[in-house]
């Protein structure tokens, strides 16, 4: 009896020593080197509350690279505890077999209220009612416009265009040529490569149209693409009309060229992520006033809304309950009202916690910075359905390339919009079949 008691005592002491031992969580982020500081600040606040848990935030390259490195790290047996994976990597992570679905932790933890997460974010990262990852940095595209150039062109900066037709007409009015016929100021600019594929998905959702079958892969694995539709064609034509009539300039691959065209006032309107509001406002400085408008939509078509973009946080199965529990606590902290409000105000990503939005509103933040409100409103006013939940498939990275190629082929007049969209859809169907054959 005494012996048994002794053993229990020893076990309890040992256990408490083990559990009290400080641990360091590894948190890989792919949102950008500039975001390491705000993220680490948040994590340090978590450490202040939980002195035993230190968090090491590491920038592991862009979203693509972070996913690639995660795969290598998992295969090498040395994975991070938390990793930030972009929207289209969701299905790959769900199928990976190396993660703990967030829902499993939520079900065990009555202290967490899932209803604080705004529905749009919850829908995107859920499959058949099960939440797989913790929404974190969420954004959607908006149009930034130069209010000074609007005035110069005789347009009302407080009444920006809302339909495709108005937008195209205004872009033309904002285009300025010099005496020898060279364009010195464009009406509109955008990046190809990663940006335009994302805009295409968003403009489909704006028209409440689907991208993949099986309700965007939400009610079953998607095996056919359905974006070769009147809605898809409208998006392609919208961009192409402005490219061909010379009022829009294709800024090149990536985000930066388009941004510098806008900031150097060589383009009056820019489509970009809300995540960069802070950067663009600072870049414009005192040179000109930046306006933010909702994405235009084609008139006469039912309005859907925008899809949540950005990334979410995944819990990797490290087979170490103590680490996993600590990581879950961190995720809860990052989703909390204060953390989301702080993160949103520092970056331009909108809060995924409804209480954070309310808090920022009451504090007068949105009154001072109405630009930030546009993104939140655009999302919250969206119809919650399959179209605005976004497409889910492991082949999304491939499909995005096919869509990007369609745009390139149309812009360089190698194909008509109809041909290009059909070719992209055929390619997407092959990619879907290829991915699905693995599972």
């Amino acid at each position: 009896m005494l012996r048994k008691l002794l053993m229990v005592t020893v076990f309890v002491i040992l256990a408490s020593v083990i559990f009290a031992a400080p641990i360091t969580l590894y948190f890989w982020q792919g949102v950008g080197a500039a975001f390491t500081k705000p993220l680490q600040d948040l994590c340090n606040q978590f450490t202040a509350l939980n002195p035993n848990v230190k968090v090491d935030v590491l920038y592991t390259g862009d979203y693509h690279e972070t996913l690639t490195k995660t795969i290598s790290a998992v295969q090498g047996g040395n994975p991070p505890d938390i990793v930030q994976i972009y929207d289209v990597g969701t299905q790959v992570m769900m199928d990976s077999g190396v993660i703990i679905p967030i829902q499993d932790m939520i079900d065990k933890d009555p202290s967490f209220d899932i209803n604080t997460i705004i529905p749009a974010a919850r829908n995107y990262y859920s499959y058949k009612g099960k939440l797989y990852s913790m929404p974190f940095n969420s954004s959607n595209p908006v149009i930034y416009y130069n209010k000074n150039l609007f005035e110069k062109a005789g347009l009302n900066p407080n009444d920006p265009p809302t339909t495709f037709d108005q937008f195209i007409a205004d872009a033309q009015k904002l285009t300025v040529k010099d005496s020898s016929g060279n364009t010195i100021q464009y009406g509109f600019t955008f990046g190809t490569g990663q940006p335009i594929e994302w805009f295409f998905e968003q403009f489909l959702a704006i028209q409440d149209a689907l991208y993949l079958n099986n309700n965007n892969g939400r009610t079953g694995r998607a095996d056919k693409a359905v974006f070769d539709s009147p809605a898809g064609l409208r998006v392609l034509n919208f961009f192409n009309t402005m490219v061909q009539n010379g009022s829009a300039i294709v800024a090149g691959a990536g985000w930066d060229n388009a941004r510098s065209l806008f900031l150097s006032q060589r383009a009056a309107m820019l489509i970009d992520s809300t995540a960069n509001i802070t950067m663009l406002l600072q870049g414009a400085g005192n040179k000109f006033n930046v306006g933010v408008m909702f994405l235009p939509h084609p008139s006469g078509v039912p309005y859907g809304g925008v899809i949540i973009g950005g990334a979410s946080l995944w819990l990797i199965n490290t087979h170490n309950t103590q680490r996993e529990q600590a990581a879950w606590d961190l995720l809860k902290f990052l989703e909390s009202t204060d953390a989301q409000a702080q993160w949103s105000a520092a970056t331009g990503y909108f809060p995924i916690n409804r209480n954070s939005i309310i808090k920022l509103l009451y504090q007068g933040f949105y009154a001072q910075h109405p630009e930030f409100l546009v993104a939140v409103l655009q999302l919250l006013m969206s119809t919650p359905d399959a179209a605005t939940s976004g497409a889910l498939s492991g082949a999304m990275p491939d499909i995005r390339t096919a869509v990007n190629n369609a745009f390139s082929n149309v812009f360089s007049k190698l194909m008509t919009p109809e041909q290009a969209l059909q070719q992209a859809q055929n390619q997407a169907n092959k990619d879907l079949a290829n991915y699905n054959s693995l599972y």
Binding site: T401, S408, L438
Partner: protein
């Protein structure tokens, strides 16, 4: 003593062989192996498919397109690159004041990391702030979209690659030129040969081993090392027109996580390069011509 002498070469080769085994042979073996499988992104499930990956490559337009792009890319960069390098080397072979400075300047692009070179060219050709774009605008009154339209994007990437390789080629040509005895040229001058004749009948034939060596080296470097410039400048676009085979392998593996497809593409690349290496060893020594 005899035994140890026999073993010394192997002993000396061992470190190199060890490194090559770990970093080249083992991954190559893995590629062969994986090219017969379809593997999920995280490697958690895989399925033996035989030669299906290879079959799909030849059915999909993407791979075939990348083969054509690679052919154009290699022929143009190696051809034009070597001609420019040879002309520069002949000029640099003269004894003019400050020749050391010119040689150093011409070699310097080779010392720049390929990724940095790509960034430099992307800056120069950028439609927003690029000097080259600006020059075209004020001199020719046109605004070419260098990095976003076909075929300009491919041309831009080829220019960057040629620029990078010139230094390397010039150094080898210079070494070759300096080993040609001056007496041949003197004899030719006495016989009344002009500069063009001397160039084609003395310089070129005596340089042929170097030319052959450089062709092989340039082919392998433009197939394998052109990656950085493409990745930085165009990411293979627009519409895959700057996607070479090497870049296609990268995209399949690191963008789309199609491990099987990427492996089968790299197997094909290995076979092609093995063929060129074979050519080099087989004909490398015989390609010398004296006239």
């Amino acid at each position: 003593m005899i035994l140890s002498r026999k073993w010394i070469p192997y002993l000396l080769l061992a470190p190199t062989f060890l490194i090559i085994s770990v970093f080249i042979y083992y991954p190559a073996y893995q590629s062969f192996f994986m090219s017969l499988y379809k593997v999920s992104p995280f490697g958690t499930s895989s399925r033996f498919v035989g030669f299906e990956n290879f079959l799909q490559l030849f059915q999909s337009g993407g791979f075939i397109q990348s083969v054509y792009t690679t052919l154009i890319f290699v022929i143009v960069t190696v051809g034009i690159g070597l001609v420019i390098s040879l002309l520069l080397a002949v000029l640099l072979n003269d004894k003019i004041p400050g020749i050391g400075i010119f040689r150093t300047l011409l070699f310097s692009p080779y010392a720049v990391s390929p990724a940095v070179a790509g960034v430099l060219w992307a800056f120069l050709l950028s439609p927003v702030s690029g000097y080259v774009s600006y020059l075209f605008l004020i001199v020719l009154k046109i605004q070419p979209q260098w990095l976003t339209t076909y075929p300009l994007a491919l041309i831009a990437v080829m220019i960057a690659t040629i620029w990078q390789n010139i230094g390397f080629n010039v150094i080898f040509f210079l070494a070759g030129l300096q080993s040609i005895p001056q007496s041949y040229y003197e004899a030719a001058t006495i016989d009344g040969a002009n500069a063009v004749n001397k160039f084609f009948r003395i310089t070129i034939p005596l340089l042929s081993p170097i030319i052959f060596f450089l062709i092989i080296m340039n082919i392998s470097s433009s197939v394998f090392y052109s990656f950085a410039a493409i990745n930085v400048m165009t990411e293979g676009g627009p519409s895959n027109t700057t996607t070479t085979m090497m870049y296609e392998v990268y995209r399949e593996r690191f963008f789309y996580f199609n491990n099987g497809a990427a492996s089968s593409e790299s197997v094909i690349l290995i076979l092609i390069m093995a063929f060129f290496t074979y050519l080099y060893f087989k004909f490398g020594q015989k390609a010398v011509h004296y006239q």
